[in-house]
Amino acid sequence: METPVLIEIKNLKTHFFLDEGTVQAVNGVDFTIHQHKTLCVVGESGCGKSVTARSILQIVDQPGRIVEGEILYHRPDRLSTAGNGEWTSDEAGASGNSTTEIIDLAALDPRGREIRAIRGQDISMIFQEPMTSLSPIHTVGNQITEAIKLHTDMLDDEADEHAVELLRRVGIPRPEERLETYPFELSGGMRQRVMIAMALSCNPALLIADEPTTAVDVTTQAQILELLEELQDEFGMAIMLITHDLGVVAEMADDVVVMYLGQVAERGDVDSIFHDPKHPYTQSLLKSIPRLGVSRNRQRLDSIRGMVPDPYNRPTGCMFGPRCDHFMPGRCDAVNPPAIPLGPEREVHCLLYEDE
């Protein structure tokens, strides 16, 4: 069953204005995030997946800014701020047309009051490198309670208690003692747990996780992914997971957006992306990964020829054209393929499917 829409991104363009030229990091991206669902954004470095996520929170680094498009946030009503503050929203779908407030995040001032109220409370983010994204000179407790005290009217003691509860929930042993420790005293996996605790401190409606497991070991990755799934069941937030690892996508996603060079190549539910990929980029990406067991007897991996083009020197027409096996001269280098709908929430940007 479809759950209500949480975030709708329409024709988002985020560009960076540098001396060397304009980098069109995100160039016309559309997708939807549903409540309680996990959306994975997958792509190689430079495809604009992180910038898309940062655009949602309006934390794009200078000299980048959103130049066009809308990020519509359908703010769910909160049941109550007391208790554990669960989000209410769907309940039998009848209340689907209840008065949800719609905010265009793209139009907000990046330094304004409105967006600051949303950051950390409605939408929070965890980053790739837990060492550099935690403050080295503040204790763990300090950093978690800061967000709590900013967005709620809890007192110091209550905030501390809440922080201990969160740390316990994310699986940190002896959480009372941990409040007084500094990030350098923790291992990589523990730091990532602290980040998650901090992000969940205000029961966000959306958790953006930007490569949360790239810097940790595979056994720690399994722990973190499992934790995120558990927390999603418990807190009911939507997760936008940004990753380059197709294995992680297959484990976590409900919906998938495949990006290439600032644009969406293809989007759809996880099963059709993996078992019925339409875009030549998705197809070759899936063929180029070594798979445990399956690749054992295969001699060579299929690889995509060439490399991701220079951002200052984007190809004309389809961004993937120069590396594509189905390249149609005169067509693919002339037209930037529009979104071709293949079904509900299923789209591909490729001229091969134009007639269908």
Binding site: V218, T219, T220, E226, H244
Partner: protein, 363 residues
Amino acid sequence: MSEQSTNGQQLSTSENGSAAAGDILLDVKNLQKWFPITAGFFRRTIGHVKAVDDISFQVLQGETVGLVGESGCGKTTAGRCILRAYDLTGGQIYFQNHDGKMVDLGPLSNNEMKPYRQQVRMIFQDPFNSLNPRMPVIDIVGDPLKINKVAAGKELEDRVASLLARVGLRPEYMRRYPHAFSGGERQRIGIARALALDPRLVVADEAVSALDVSVRAQILNLIKDLQEEFNLTYIFVSHDLSVIEYICDRVVVMYVGKIVEVAETEELFAQPFHPYTEALLSAVPNPDPRMRQQKDRIVLEGDVADPANPPSGCYFHPRCRYVQDQCSQETPDLREIAPGHFAACHFAEELTLAGVTASGELG
């Protein structure tokens, strides 16, 4: 030591009994590398990080041996010891010289190492930091030739050009600086540099970890092709099990400075004998959403043990789900469980552990 003799057997069995001694290219025996922990004004040594603690394995001519494990398990340190980038704390590294004699690289001085440095080369992980940004490609790739007086002048240029062409770069670009190349291309430059002196053994330390998926496949294929062409032997250090499975003939699994399991790749992945290997295999995300329901993932408790202060007995026992009393008291030896398959677990014979089937399922 019993460990060494069992390793000798492993060699003969893995080669169907036809292995001559000359087939061993590298024989690592009881290798140890401890880093001192110092404290106080006089930098007194108060302890050691046992990064590599008594490991033995062999590398045969023409094969690819994978060193796999999580961060801090000592796989990189082991690789660097083989290159003699570090001085050893203990143990021997026997390398087969051109004349077929085994030479212990361990005690050699820098000058004595020189001829071997041509034969043992390295590919680094980070294609950005491992190339000097102030040197054009011709110098990066050509310097080893110049320093070892292999080629100079026009000949050097020709050799660099052919090397670049071989790794898939355009020779015209040899006057360019590294910043003009993408990550994948830089890794190709690093490979060309490693191959410049016709090495016999190449240590590739996480050579594809920093690369994007589509480029990673290109580089992995290149590494495989070059092996056939130049009859190379690789030690492939990686944390990525799917890459290891794809490229390696034999795999050495390490945990906190020790070897926990050695086997041929297919066997190790299909039928692991050490609980750590099982957990490691189970933790790899499967790129197929339909496998999600079937998974019975083993999520390990806690973190990797501190190599400065490892647990008693088997280093893995605090996280092992099959732990018994004996595990915390006795350190298990690396034993041959099946022909050519070694594991360091007291209960290796009794446990039935799950590997990965050829269809990618855990089972």
